[in-house]
Symmetry: C2
Subunit: 87 residues, 2 copies
């Protein structure tokens, strides 16, 4: 058990400008559940870039990332692994 | 940092019989993202009982539980707190 808890935060991706805040939360070892549909409905290409950016960030930081249904993406710090077979 | 990672698992609640497996995962200190809509569409009263059961379990184990949109419920072990303002 670690002393300080890990936080789990639900956030909404409305624009590619939200990415820096999301990365800051990820740097604080937060688990982020990201609702991507608002940006998906606005600009699919921008969503693609945003997800690619987050994917590269997560890869380099040793975290994990996975789709959660149609609406959400989960991002974890290196202390949290996403179970295989996530739907 | 702890040595063994925490796991995050996405599971679907289809019946009240799934509750014992979910509690077993929670006992293993897993974070569970539970899609509740399949049971919600089948039997709202059974869903209500299942959520109440999980809520009481989480309360007694020092974990955290929160709704995530219309479709999902998040359950965390005591080492993970859910950020206030979760949507």
């Amino acid at each position: 058990m670690q002393k300080t808890p890990i936080y789990l935060k639900a956030v909404t991706l409305k624009s590619i400008n939200d990415i820096s805040n999301i990365k800051n939360d990820a740097k604080k070892q937060m688990i982020i559940i990201l609702r991507v549909t608002p940006l998906a409905h606005k600009d699919v290409e921008e969503l693609r870039k945003a997800i690619e950016d987050l994917y590269n960030y997560v890869q380099s930081s040793g975290g994990d990332i996975a789709r959660l249904g149609e609406e959400r993406v989960v991002i974890t710090p290196s202390s949290v692994r996403i179970w295989k077979g996530i739907e």
